[in-house]
């Protein structure tokens, strides 16, 4: 069938498959792989493992730098996490990469019992967190944080950009106990270098202050929150942004201090509205007895469509225009 020339060209699923960076945006290539290789130079205990996704989780950068410290486990995620536990038991510090869907859905029992229960320093690196691929529910880990938040001992990190990833990796290697890193791979936007910011494991940071609205965000949605905040300036709306890259343990003190006033409070996450950042914040608010309404921006409680990422982010409300519209609607 010949496509008609009059039909509007549709975006392709393959668009942005390696990166969700905007055209012309400053990016860093494979920040995780380079950060791991740098950390490994000073710590002999660091090793890398993957389940046939080295090239797609930026682990190949580490493998090239330290071939004798890289272990290919094949497309066997249960083995990946069980073996990572075994290596940690011998005193090594494994970073084990696969896609988030496989770490969370397929190998949960192995992460829970072999790694988290004995509180081993194994760092799980999950590619394609939330909605960062157009391949449909088989690859979209829209509920990975909801799955993992109930696991005792597990630290969960949802980085915004290359700055977060570069600074998080050595901190995760140095901290006791297991972690789950929501990986951004390929050409990853560099955003937070323009702010007075450093990543501190377990800490939330106020990136900008504003009188009217406070956006609490994690992961790539912090980038969108900052873009939305700028766009809202044109509407005379002054927006604060609080970045919470560590989802668990959660820095309730910093976030609650920002939510204490009467500003409109909105959470933004690249995750289902069930069980992720919104419910983490909501739980902190209720526990503190704060009678505060919080508006969630996140993915719907549904299996999502396949397609091109820009299309899907627009469809499900993660795009900057949709965020701006939502905030303006809430402000009335």
């Amino acid at each position: 069938m010949t496509p008609t020339t009059t039909a509007k060209a549709k975006l392709k699923t393959s668009a942005m498959i390696a990166s969700f960076a905007d055209p012309g945006q400053k990016t860093a290539s494979a920040p995780f792989g380079h950060a791991l290789a740098r950390a490994a130079e000073s710590d002999q205990r660091i090793v890398g493992l993957t389940a046939d996704l080295g090239k797609y989780t930026d682990m190949h950068i580490f493998a090239q730098a330290f071939p004798e410290r890289f272990f290919q486990m094949g497309m066997a995620e249960q083995l990946l996490l069980g073996a990572a536990a075994g290596m940690a038991e011998t005193g090594l510090i494994p970073f084990a990469s696969t896609y988030s869907v496989f770490a969370a859905r397929r190998a949960y029992d192995f992460l829970c019992l072999d790694i988290a229960e004995p509180n081993l320093n194994v760092n799980i690196v999950g590619g394609l967190p939330g909605l960062t691929t157009g391949y449909g529910p088989s690859h979209q880990a829209t509920e990975d944080m909801a799955i993992f938040r109930g696991m005792p001992n597990l630290t969960i990190v949802d980085p915004c950009d290359s700055v977060d990833i570069e600074q998080a990796v050595p901190q995760l290697a140095a901290s006791e106990g297991p972690s789950y890193l929501r990986l951004l791979r390929g050409n990853v936007p560099t955003v937070l270098d323009e702010y007075d910011y450093t990543f501190e494991l377990g800490k939330a940071k106020v990136l900008r202050r504003g009188r009217d609205v406070v956006l609490v965000s994690s992961g790539l949605m912090t980038m969108r929150a900052l873009q939305a905040a700028k766009a809202l300036e044109a509407h005379k709306v002054d927006v604060a942004v609080v970045h919470t890259p560590t989802i668990k343990p959660f820095d309730s003190a910093t976030v609650l201090a920002e939510l204490a006033g009467d500003r409109l409070a909105v959470t933004l996450e690249n995750h289902s509205v069930v069980g992720g950042l919104f419910e983490t914040v909501a739980s902190a608010v209720v526990t503190a007895g704060l009678g505060k309404r919080v508006v969630p921006i996140g993915l719907p409680d549904a299996f999502l469509d396949a397609g091109a990422l820009p299309t899907l982010h627009e469809r499900y409300g993660l795009s900057v225009p949709r965020i701006v519209a939502k905030v303006l609607a809430e402000l009335g």
């Binding site: 094949g74 066997a76 083995l79 011998t90 005193g91």
Partner: protein
Amino acid sequence: MSTLDQTTTRPSASGTFADRRRTITEAAYRIRHHALNMGAVQGQGYVGQALGAADIFATVYASQLSFRADQPDWEGRDRFLLSTGHYAIGHYAALAEAGIIPVDELESYGSDDSRLPMSGMSTYTPGMEISGGSLGHGLSIAVGMALGLRHQGSNARVFNFLSDGELDEGSTWEAAMGGHHHQLGNLTAMVDINALQADGKTETVLRTEPVAEKWTAFGWYCQRIDGNDAGALLEAFDNAAARAASHGQPSVILCDTKVGRGVSLLENREKAHFMRIEEHEWQLCREQLAAGYEGTASA
């Protein structure tokens, strides 16, 4: 254990084969005796499995494992991983026999605040390397330990005890491939084939045979033996040890065992994964165990 050299802590391979076999037989008897006493505290439990696997535990601890009884986390130790958490009753008995936990402590098995929970956990018990129980985990962890030890230049070996029911789990076969792919000569698995699972006979639950052909096809050096024959066990583990030093190939020893072995009352009872034994039967079990052992010893 009498064959343990206190300075090297590695079991001595010296002495005649008959002497070494006798040591194992004696240890296995004591392990069975301990298991009956522990079962009696609970009134029921995995006594059948402990009796069936006692010869395997005895062989590994008396003739193969390098360890320090007073320093269970000694870095140079060989690792013994119990995948099948419910076999902990047999493993605790073996740890007591090995001097790692006091014999007196065995009576606390399965009681509140005990270091000896019903399902084995590394965080509770000295000498317990992993928390088994969710079946199909042990061999994956063993692969990682064997890789990690070899990577760091250690000569320590890794042993994984698993059951035939555990062969149902796909993860066991992921690990089998991993052990072969990474040429882990320092890894030895033993499979207790008692042909029984929670819901009945293994062949009716999920057919696992032909087991030897499967392991061989997965690239492992495979031996199949009578897992209640101390001499056969010793020979098989010695073979595996010799190959571990010279071949980059993991070993598996398939051990056909009999649930309740050594106590005719239980051997002949309708087999059950979780065996109920009446109060008045425990002493009879001990007497049958002793009579059978004395018959063997005098033979």
